[in-house]
């Protein structure tokens, strides 16, 4: 998505920030840290940076050099977005946030959108987070993702092409692989036993 936005022909400047939620990093991925990670990608205009630097200097003088609180972080992000022409925020795997952080994150994003209606947010996640997303963003644009046969074929072709043990492959087997696997996977629930695990991992 990020590459697609970068590459599309457009007259106007855009700024993109991204974040990948990761269940292995849940404790560190607090809402404040996530918003902070987005903010630092959007600190491209001097005036906001000055404010952030001031807050940093102030915090250093306080006990423990404490970090910003969530409302302050959100406010700074709003400020940063206001200085930019158009901002895209892409967040992957929302389901990997703990529920408390997810809710805080969505509420924070809602506040930010209210201030910057031109901003666009792209999020992905497993189906179970849909309810929370539609609760916070009643009219969000929703697209179900399923593996497409031609994508799988393309992927398999690439893997076969790059197979270092190509002598073990015959034309017949190759043709079988390229027809059977895409047919079986597309439209079916991935995760069933027929899908090779390695394929699942890489596609994900």
């Amino acid at each position: 998505m990020i590459d697609a936005l970068c590459d599309e022909p457009s007259e106007e400047d855009i700024a993109i920030a991204m974040f990948y939620c990761d269940f292995r990093d849940q404790q560190k991925q607090t809402t404040t840290n996530i918003i902070g990670a987005i903010l630092k990608q959007l600190l491209v205009r001097g005036e906001v940076l000055e404010d952030v630097q001031k807050a940093f200097q102030k915090a250093k003088k306080e006990v423990g050099g404490r970090g910003l609180r969530l409302p302050d972080m959100v406010q700074m992000l709003e400020q940063a977005i206001a200085t930019l022409p158009q901002v895209f925020i892409c967040i992957d795997a929302l389901d990997e946030c703990i529920p408390k952080h997810l809710l805080e994150l969505l509420v924070s994003l809602k506040d930010i959108i209210r201030k910057s209606p031109r901003m666009r947010i792209f999020v992905t996640g497993r189906p179970q987070v849909e309810a929370e997303i539609t609760r916070q963003f009643t009219n969000s644009v929703i697209v179900p993702i399923s593996p497409k046969a031609h994508d799988i074929k393309r992927y398999l072709e690439n893997k076969l092409e790059m197979d270092t043990e190509h002598y073990a492959m015959s034309d017949g087997l190759r043709a079988d692989i390229l027809t059977t696997i895409p047919e079986r996977i597309s439209g079916m629930c991935v995760g069933a036993s027929i899908v090779p695990t390695s394929l699942c991992m890489v596609l994900y």
Partner: protein, 105 residues
């Protein structure tokens, strides 16, 4: 990605900044242009998290063309155009594990 991997991407990530936005034009305002890189203390204080390492992994493993169908949908077009304003600001793509959400182009 574990903590070690994250912190290593933090330490060398700044040098790779512009790789994240390899484009042949100048319309991209960021990601993390020099301004942030000249202020490592501030950037670290803002958040210990640095998604750029993970992003680079995804870019490396992504196969060109896969997931392009999304860009052709009317939903994507509507969202991208911004016509719906704040009301339609969020595009949510959902799917079970392994369907390719992360690797949508």
């Amino acid at each position: 990605m574990d903590h070690a991997a994250y912190s290593s991407s933090t330490s060398f990530g700044n040098r790779n900044v512009n790789c994240n936005n390899v484009t042949n034009n100048h319309k991209i305002v960021n990601v993390n242009k020099v301004i942030a890189d000249e202020n490592p203390g501030v950037v670290q204080w803002l958040s210990p998290l640095d998604p750029r390492g993970r992003h680079q992994d995804v870019r490396t493993n992504r196969l060109d063309g896969v997931g392009n169908w999304l860009l052709e949908t009317k939903e994507f077009g509507e969202w991208r155009s911004g016509e719906g304003g704040a009301d339609r600001a969020v595009l949510f793509c959902y799917g079970d594990p392994g369907v390719g959400k992360t690797y949508l182009r």
